[in-house]
């Protein structure tokens, strides 16, 4: 339902990375210092570069064909960079040519199915990365430790303006050291148990030494090699004949086309002009199915919050924030906005994190209580502007449905749909809608809920009073080597956000994509990227 003339995507270079680069933190990885990551990865062991461990769903994979994918949200800002994205089609393109050291499986668990044989935490502040041997880039150059060092340094250099920069804060980029041809030592400035997750996020693609973004030639280790690319229009990639995983990939070519809106996308899918599309509007699932097409419904931890800036009126008063949270009828929203495809949230993020506090009471609509809170705050009959944009599926809908529900509490919400939302006003608005992808709790806090966070819409935490110790709790949690201690700290942080925070998180909406029955091998995934991480870089899917 994106509209013409409005941004199909966030406009800030850095923004999308934090939105999509999901990084769920699995604490057992670091455990005590010295535990090898590879050993902790539940049976993935150190697979040699031979076969993929991605299970296929039905039938035997078939070779050949041109896979045509339609993606909304692109434009002339589209780029092709192994470590950077601006628009949504950029994500779809990046994963076709570039791969990461570690990967997430469909349950969002870390696996070492990537370019690294192992990533080991030697001490809380030092990791060792061991590469698979014999992997070649698409131009025939062998993948070595130098490429890893170059890749991480490219991301960690601020002036490069890459999306992953913020996540390298704890890494001592200058101290990266080549131990041998296939081994790299990664020292940290501060203890950070989330490093493996960071290395598995898709914007940490490994690029060859000296790499430059398009229009320079693009050679990754991935399954498809870029043949032609026209920003805002289309890209065509060819199978990498020299791909390191045996048997994969299956398509001859992958064509990724930019679409202006979901209507054209659905029409193209139903008319057989594309084989798959991203972000099928929830209300269209039945329509697509009635045309003998499939919908891939993935339960993810992606969220679209209403953001109240806690230091801007009228939200400086916590009673107003609480009232707004009590106005929301969460189940009605799931029915209305997501056609039932989603699950209720409790104004907290990272539902798949083991540190997520399920014990906090579920907040439900309570108009009477909301009214009385507003009255005691002297804000009866409150009128506020709510800023939103067609940035991600459901952002405008959430704002309008909230405005409709708020009327019951006597609150007038004026929805402002701003095409230039992610311009200069972004992060300076009292009341706005935003969107985020799945990630682990501490990664998410680092991105959006600290004074140093690049994208802190709610201006959390408060400078004084309840909640002002939030940042110090975060540092303690990050450095905690004992899982139960860390979870205890995380619960303490979530309690603060639950009681005093500025987010209204009504529900976690499912990620829904449409595809033709000709496309085989797709399975739901908890990851942030569409279509099961675009078929794990277009290698685990094929055309029947």
């Amino acid at each position: 339902m994106t509209a013409f003339g409005t941004p199909q995507h966030p406009q800030d270079n850095e923004r999308p990375e934090r939105l999509f680069s999901g990084v769920t933190r699995r604490q057992f990885i670091i455990g005590a210092a010295g535990v090898a990551l590879a050993g902790g990865l539940g049976g993935c062991g150190s697979s040699s570069p031979s076969t993929s461990n991605t299970p296929t769903s039905t039938g035997t994979p078939k070779r050949g064909g041109n896979f045509r994918l339609g993606v909304t949200g692109g434009g002339s800002k589209d780029i092709f960079d192994g470590q950077n994205i601006i628009t949504k089609p950029d994500q779809a393109r990046l994963v076709s040519a570039f791969e990461t050291l570690l990967t997430f499986d469909d349950n969002y668990q870390l696996t070492n199915d990537g370019l690294a044989e192992s990533v080991t935490a030697d001490t809380p502040t030092q990791y060792t990365i061991k590469l698979h041997k014999g992997i070649e880039f698409q131009n025939g150059k062998t993948l070595t430790a130098d490429d890893v060092i170059y890749s991480l340094q490219r991301i960690g250099t601020q002036k490069n303006g890459l999306t992953g920069f913020a996540a390298t804060a704890s890494m001592d980029i200058a101290g990266l050291k080549k131990l041998d041809q296939y081994t790299v030592r990664l020292p940290l400035k501060t203890a950070d148990s989330t490093v493996p997750q960071t290395l598995a996020s898709y914007t940490f693609g490994i690029v060859p030494v000296g790499y430059k973004a398009y229009p320079a030639p693009q050679f990754g280790t991935g399954a498809y090699k870029l043949k032609s690319f026209s920003p805002g229009q289309e890209s065509i990639s060819e199978r990498n004949p020299n791909y390191w995983r045996t048997g994969e990939p299956y398509f001859d070519t992958v064509t990724i086309t930019d679409f202006a809106d979901a209507t054209a996308q659905v029409n193209a899918l139903l008319g057989g002009q594309i084989d798959a599309m991203t972000d099928l509007p929830p209300s269209q699932v039945q329509v697509v199915k009635s045309h003998q097409m499939n919908a891939l419904i993935s339960k993810t931890g992606g969220w679209v919050p209403l953001c109240m800036a806690i230091d801007m009126p009228p939200f400086t008063d916590n009673r107003v924030r609480q009232a707004m949270r009590l106005i929301v009828d969460r189940n009605a929203m799931i029915g209305q906005i997501a056609s039932g495809y989603g699950f209720v949230a409790n104004d907290l993020y990272s539902p798949f994190d083991e540190g997520y506090d399920h014990a906090l009471p579920q907040r439900t609509q309570d108009i009477a209580q909301a009214k009385s809170l507003l009255k005691s705050a002297g804000q009866e009959g409150l009128t506020v502007d709510l800023h939103t944009t067609n940035g991600a599926s459901g952002m405008v809908e959430l704002a309008t449905v909230f405005a409709s529900q708020a009327k019951a509490a006597g609150v007038t919400v004026n929805v402002k749909n701003d095409p230039n939302y992610y311009g200069s006003a972004y992060l300076h608005l009292a009341f706005s809608v935003d969107f985020w992808g799945t990630r682990g709790y501490l990664n998410q806090v680092q991105q959006g809920s600290l004074p140093t966070s690049p994208y802190n819409e709610t201006h959390w935490p408060p400078k004084s009073g309840t909640g002002s110790n939030f940042a110090s709790l975060y540092s303690q949690a990050l450095a905690a080597t004992d899982a139960s201690k860390r979870i205890e700290l995380e619960h303490e942080m979530q309690k603060l956000e639950y009681d005093e925070g500025g987010y209204i998180i009504p529900f976690f909406g499912d990620l829904i994509d449409g595809y033709s029955p000709k496309v085989q091998g797709l399975k739901p995934s908890k990851g942030t990227l569409n279509l099961e991480g675009f078929g794990h870089g277009y290698r685990s899917i094929w055309l029947a």
Binding site: V396, E397, T400, A403, V415
Partner: protein, 302 residues
């Protein structure tokens, strides 16, 4: 919303403009034509829907009534529910007012400025004429939808901005027609006679010239209204309307077009409404134009 809009204006220096006719007589005679009557009836019905609709709508346009895209019947009401589970009938009944008000206001402003500029230019017959008409040329070089699109995308979809953009692009087209129609009048003897009697210029323009171009201006007004409705609906269709979830026929088409195969009414009802409305104004304009041409022919026969 096409440009032949400028059709009457094209004949600068070529054909003859529609001759002066008293407006009441013209209207009365135009109403004798079936096409004018049908047009007037269509416009009347839709204006009534737009004005009365909000008072008779069963729900608020933003109330949740049934599962999204429910077909008509039961809780979903006569026309079913839309992509957000809102009542299509209620949104349809609310959805005309905004478009009509904005179209009428912007067209009226465009007409006032256009007629004013056209008359002054025709009357001046000197450098001022050239300056005004070249300025109009410059504005006319930008297609209406493009100018509105650029303005609204950059400054936001404010109602006033849409009105200004449409009025600004309407005025020069009107001005050219007004000037073309007024020129032959200016050249007639009685204007010179009035001038020599010491009547002020403003009086001559408003009292003598203006009544004489009412006929073509009525045709022009209905044409311009047709295009204004089209442009406003088109902007809403592109997602550029003052209220993103406002009940607005153009917005409704954009929001529900995708569901056409399962729940067509969400998009079809507003499509039909806009089509009938623009057809209605088009028919009225054509009726008046034909009548004026008919009167012209009669005079020629005299």
């Amino acid at each position: 919303m096409t440009a032949t809009e400028e059709a009457p204006a094209q004949a600068e220096g070529l054909g003859t403009p529609t001759p002066p006719v008293r407006s009441t007589m013209l209207l009365a005679r135009a109403m004798r034509l079936w096409r004018t009557r049908i047009g007037a009836l269509l416009v009347l019905i839709l204006v009534v829907i737009a004005i009365v609709g909000p008072y008779v709508a069963p729900h608020s346009p933003t109330d949740f009534v049934a599962v999204p895209n429910s077909p008509p019947g039961g809780k979903a009401g006569l026309l079913g529910s839309d992509y957000l589970g809102q009542d299509v009938l209620s949104r349809f009944l609310y959805g005309g007012r905004g478009i009509l008000v904005m179209a009428f206001v912007s067209t009226a402003i465009g007409l006032i400025f256009g007629v004013g500029i056209g008359l002054v230019a025709a009357y001046a017959r000197n450098a001022l004429d050239d300056v005004l008409m070249r300025a109009m040329d410059v504005i006319m070089a930008f297609p209406q939808i493009m100018l509105a699109l650029v303005a609204v995308s950059l400054l936001g979809a404010h109602a006033w901005l849409i009105i200004v953009a449409i009025a600004l692009t309407t005025a020069p087209r009107v001005a050219r027609v007004a000037r073309g129609a007024a020129q032959p009048v200016v050249e007639r003897d009685f204007v010179e006679a009035t001038e020599s009697m010491g009547v002020s210029r403003i009086r001559i323009i408003t009292g003598e010239l203006f009544p004489n171009i009412l006929g073509p201006m009525m045709v022009e007004a209905s044409l311009r209204l047709t295009y204004s409705i089209g442009v406003i609906a088109a902007l809403a269709f592109l997602g550029l309307s003052p209220d993103p979830n406002g009940a607005n026929w153009g917005t409704m088409i954009q929001q529900n077009e995708i569901a056409l195969s399962t729940q067509p009414w969400g998009a079809l009802a507003p499509i039909i409404a806009i089509a009938l409305l623009t057809m209605g104004t088009g028919l009225i304009g054509d009726g008046i134009a034909r009548t004026a041409a008919g009167i012209d022919r009669e005079r020629g026969d005299e």
